[in-house]
């Protein structure tokens, strides 16, 4: 059976992709951010997961507003990155695991989650930046197969935080029921607090983000008391992306250990966070 060995929460700001491309990891602006990933790099190197389920949102590369799925899962053998219009250099394609994708889709739909199934899916910076952050070298990215799980946090109404947590729990059940000898990690990406639009652009909220990170392991339900509108007020309309971390958290169950965490303001306009959980149940 497949084993969900751990999960990572991580921001996915496009500027990070630029910094990696330009090798700025040791630059004073970037160093406090990238040093937070060292424990993740070491853990990935040690554990060598076979598959990564990557929870993210598309920002207008694959999905336009003509048809916006709430939850979409890729079921392709390969996922291409592409030009998003403002200069980030596309990365090499990522290898999928269609059989596992279809198992995940089948399991989730029979668990009452209505999934949009995608046999072709371009992945944007929301996907590629976390991949580069988890596996900085091409060799590492080539080793791991990916399953993109795309969430609508662009066009209101978004799925509720509760729905995301429950979807995560269902993903956990789906992984546990897959009859293949695979080590799987799940990445919940986006956030933390940031606001890109309006006169309040540049808004961040350290206090809220810190409480979110503090409670994520033992009390993820804490976030559920806020509607997405209330969250937008607290952490900015784009900060609401943190609900995608709940999918990661829900998948892991309650027998987990926090191995590392980092929080840094600012990366571009964003309060950036990273947290690593190991599943003690497998």
């Amino acid at each position: 059976m497949a084993r969900l060995i751990g999960g990572v929460g991580s921001s996915h700001v496009p500027a990070i992709g630029n910094a990696i491309e330009r090798n700025l990891q040791s630059d004073p602006y970037w160093q406090p951010f990238f040093k937070g990933y060292e424990p993740v790099w070491n853990w990935m190197e040690e554990k060598k997961p076979d598959v990564a389920i990557l929870v993210y949102n598309d920002h207008g590369l694959n999905f336009f507003l003509d048809a916006m799925p709430t939850f979409a899962i890729g079921a392709a053998a390969e996922y291409q990155n592409a030009d998003e219009g403002w200069g980030l250099k596309p990365l090499d394609p990522f290898q999928g695991d269609p059989e596992f994708s279809w198992h995940l889709i089948d399991s989730l739909v029979h668990d009452e989650f209505d999934i949009t199934m995608c046999q072709e899916m371009k992945v944007d910076h929301g996907f590629t930046v976390p991949m580069s952050l988890m596996w900085p070298r091409q060799q590492g990215r080539d080793r791991v197969k990916v399953i993109p799980l795309c969430v609508n946090v662009v066009q209101y109404p978004f799925p509720t935080a509760r729905r995301c947590l429950k979807l995560g729990e269902a993903v956990g059940r789906a992984v546990a029921s897959y009859e293949a000898d695979l080590d799987v990690v799940i990445l919940g990406t986006g956030g933390l607090s940031h606001q890109l639009d309006g006169q309040r652009a540049g808004h961040t909220n350290r206090e809220f983000d810190t409480e979110f990170l503090d409670r994520l392991k033992d009390d993820p339900e804490w976030l559920l008391k806020y509607s997405n509108y209330e969250l937008a007020e607290k952490v900015g309309p784009q900060g609401v992306e943190m609900i995608m971390w709940l999918i990661m958290r829900g998948a892991l169950g309650n027998d987990i250990r926090e191995l590392s965490r980092n929080y840094h303001i600012p990366i571009s306009n964003t309060a950036a966070g990273v947290i690593l959980f190991e599943n003690e149940a497998v």
Partner: protein
Amino acid sequence: MTMRSLKGKRPIPGTIIFDGSQAIRGYQLNKMCYSFNKAENRDAFLKDEDGYCDKYGLNDDQRAAVKERDVLKLLGLGGNIYYLAKLTGIFGLNMQDIGAQQAGVSLEEFKAKLLAAGET
């Protein structure tokens, strides 16, 4: 046409929620911006901005705001920030440039405010 889940909510200062009303208002504008994922469309826009806006059926207010590169106005006219970023990217403006523009401060002030938030 306020959605039930948004009725009676107090407005968030300096913030527009991209809801159904905004999505309707900005559909053509966002569709044009979506086309800028392709380099040849960015080139076509630069060659003939008016013609390109015609092709996508932008209204007069949207066309004027595109001409002014005014992100706040474009947001009010239904633009979504991720799509608008593809438009402003054509002029070499990144998220921090347009953040400063919307906040009504210089880029240096905008960056300084973010750095200050990291020090508290």
